[in-house]
Symmetry: D2
Subunit: 311 residues, 4 copies
């Protein structure tokens, strides 16, 4: 079944808030999302800035310890214009280089606006601060997740085992993300969509816009997990969210070892496969918590007689 | 001109050691390299383990402050067999997960041997410790660099501004790596070649073998640099070597901003391009120092009227 | 005025929960606190483990942007026995040393019990796991804080700008801790008291017991602050809570520079004083977030004509 | 026997350089040391800046795997004036706070000069940049160590298992530091003395001066060690040198556990003692490598029937 969620209220934490919509396992929801500053498809500020979330959506029959499969079916822009900040974050450059970065970190910055050219498949900056920059249109969802354990309500500025502001570039159409469920019903939230974004969200913004995020939410045929996992057509992924990056990498790597064992590998063979065939990507490095993604090709898994999908 | 270097002596530090070969700017050298344990193409241990280096090669006319362009022209296996350790390093998994990893970190491990099948373009493990694993043959040079400043002699177990044990997967044929020259003649070293290696060298080894590393060494048309840079057919790269990963990322990101300015961008536009179009890769995360690579597509640069090559 | 708080309900997050007690600015409260496992003075488990908090206490007239002064007037043991775990946390030793640590991290551990000898001023372990260990009785409050901004409810396993599980050894009788107020009324919580604890809480526990925590809560004559500050008879302190330790140290150091300017120093002189006279302590290094404390002697400040107290 | 070393040559790396002086096990040497900028007791620049070292001193009969005991017998100022930089390092404050720090990191700074008043036991800044600051005269040796393994020559800007630029405040008169010997004869170096210094050397300098460093060098009655250890009248110490601070703390903590076992504790009791009675100090946080010191009171050890000295 297909639902629509146009929120009456937005949240800047992911927690156990009053349910906005209840659906059945496997249903699809078209979620209307404002941008990171709370601005909607009509350029109206309808809520406070700071990655306001649409949700929570409860999924009947999904309980604590289950894994929620979030499949991004479609991402539809709700306006043709997005914005970004024309700088780099202070923490992504050397301390002694900060003075060289345009617009001191923390200063009140003027936004750079970008226009979406759907026909050409690109976004173009207006060049207010320098060059007109053209980038491919690669829509993605920056922040989404499920209610965490022990009653926490976690700021949407950060991320954790529950998901959150991971800003992983390929969390877009065709990707399924697996999240560990900590409360009955899972309580899913989404927001902070981008037209495009570089690795790390190192300027603190992608090209931010309001979008409709169409997701299918279902119980995954997967054992209890500690950290988010994902898959698309070609890869299986595991995700660690922490600071420093070293610890995020430890989470993603431990989770990949567990995943490969769940795919049928023995512990040693899983280590050998990972040593020679794993790749890493970097998600958000601007947040309080950073994101590292480990990935392995599905072809590698099937070639070695291992399970390669959970869809 | 083309030279051959078959070392009489190997070094486990990169420093100002007695010159093994002197060449002209732009010459090519076929460098015979033993594997990380000092074992040569005839399976003989000819020097101590620990990433022994072949070199140093002095390049006439290259002086302090210049940039050395190291182009990998060819990588030729000197034997058909390589080896790896069938484990994961203690520092790449969660502390509480270490007990789950096969073969406790630091224990004396039996090696896993792999055979090179050049016709099929793959390497195959012998499955001593579990599954027979097949991986693509993607030869690369794990450790190379130039003599550092102030008379330092830096262990080949680690990396720094001078290069060193970076273990970047795409530092192979067709890639040009740019290194900051700290002593006259540059004093180039290479070794620690791999048949294949996953991101991070998270087991502490790629598939280690003796190889002939054919490089062309030339002065680059590039201003003084702080950290290694690189390019291949499709991308420009910058490299940071440090621990934690966060600092390696800061080095790579600062260097990318400087590089884009050298390519013709103003400081703000460089920041905008990076925010929306950069990608990161992770090199060695097993060393004392870790490696992060920032990359940007050459096509992006030329499309915006910027310089896109230094070859 | 003096109040008593014996909670009907405990919380494992610090957030905007229903107010348990409302007091006037400057009032004192005797707060009954269970131990980290929810066990009270009669050895009864009255709530779930995980640093359950007593509170929240609202202070009339204190509003967002104010600073709350929390003075620990007295700490009274509610039983004569405490407990700890006889191990070291996995993250405080080298990864390759973890196998050497007794009781693998994450394993189900038997507790070590300790008896309080008030006359001798010591606590003594029962030696179940080895030696009988005697340590001085130095009671302190491991976890306390005020409701954070934007509606967050932060787990009492961690710490932040709001305070939380800082485990600073000298947060005991005679110490005043200053916390940034993010919601009207401040909403103060406390719990997780220790009979004694080493720097870092590196075993994951101090000697845990139920205690009565007597605090005076008042508005501090201090400008808006970003991170906790503190003072006792001899020192002014600033506190950073983050991971890695490097970032916690950055927070504490930045806050100390702001504090010294508030005490009357110019920015340069503040830097000179800090360079030559500051000391650092380490609080919790077991949590998701770590704690670093910067301190400077009050005598140094008064000797240089600077303000040296905010009490 | 007592020797004098007035160097003809200084080194900015600690490595296997030509021996400047050979002594017997247990001999004392009065080592003339220039300041961190190579300026001697007559205000003459006699060598390049960058922590130039006096040495190496070879100790007959000390071999690889031994432990060298370095006892600081006396520190004698060679001039009555010292200098420092009036700023804070970029990496010790929050990235967004860097703009608030006087004198941008990396800028060419004017020095602040300080005068030593031996009678009063203080040093006084001249107040060129702000207040006249008075600090106690607490002389210490910032950088010293022994030649590292595998032929490395390590910059005196950093630190490691061999010692180096640790900048620990209490490495002064009355302290014995234990260093792991990696080459026969140990090859000891010293320099970079300070009249006083705050924890962390967070401005990048203590009060830098030329000093005579009187040391006794002897073989310690101690098993092979991985990281520096130390003792003074009241405490035993272990030292970790690495970045980030978290890793330096891991080294110091693992070494303390090994030390307590060498003092006679079983592994579990060592963990219990450490959990409740250890303290941490922070050394250099300005270097490429940071320093964390773990300490435990000798009284605690003797009270529990454990060895408490290696002198």
């Amino acid at each position: 079944m297909r639902h629509t969620l146009i929120p009456q209220q937005y949240y800047r934490t992911i927690g156990t808030h009053p349910i906005a919509l209840t659906i059945q396992d496997g249903d699809e929801v078209a979620i209307s999302c404002v941008d990171a500053h709370g601005i909607d498809g009509n350029d109206q500020a309808v809520t406070l800035p700071g990655n306001p979330m649409s949700g929570p959506i409860a999924v009947t029959g999904i309980i604590v310890g289950d894994v929620l499969a979030v499949t991004f079916e479609n991402l539809v822009p709700l306006r043709t214009q997005g914005w970004s900040y024309p700088t780099l974050a202070g923490n992504v450059v050397d301390p002694e280089y900060i003075a060289s970065v345009p617009f001191a970190p923390g200063s009140k910055l003027p936004k750079e606006y970008w226009d979406l050219d759907t026909a050409a498949g690109v976004v173009r900056s207006r060049g207010t601060h320098g060059m007109v920059v053209t980038a491919p249109y690669r829509p993605m969802v920056g922040c989404f997740g499920v209610a965490p354990a022990r009653g926490e309500a976690i700021s949407t500025a950060t991320s954790g085992q529950h998901g959150g502001n991971m800003d992983v570039r390929f969390f877009g159409v065709g990707c399924t993300v697996y999240l560990p469920v900590a409360v009955d019903g899972a309580l899913f939230y989404a927001g902070d969509a981008h037209f495009v974004q570089g690795c790390g969200e190192i300027g603190g913004t992608g090209v931010e816009s309001a979008m409709r995020v169409d997701v299918r939410l279902a119980k995954a045929p997967m054992q209890s997990i500690a950290w988010p996992r994902a898959e698309d057509a070609d890869f299986l992924y595991t995700v660690g969210n922490a600071r420093p990056l070293d610890q995020a990498l430890q989470h993603a790597t431990s989770e990949m070892h567990r995943l490969l064992i769940e795919c049928g590998a023995d512990a040693t063979s899983a280590a050998v496969l990972m040593s020679q065939l794993i790749e890493y990507n970097i998600g958000n490095v601007f947040d309080p918590a950073f994101t590292v993604v480990a990935k392995i090709a599905k072809q590698v898994l099937s070639q070695h007689g291992l399970r390669s999908t959970f869809r």
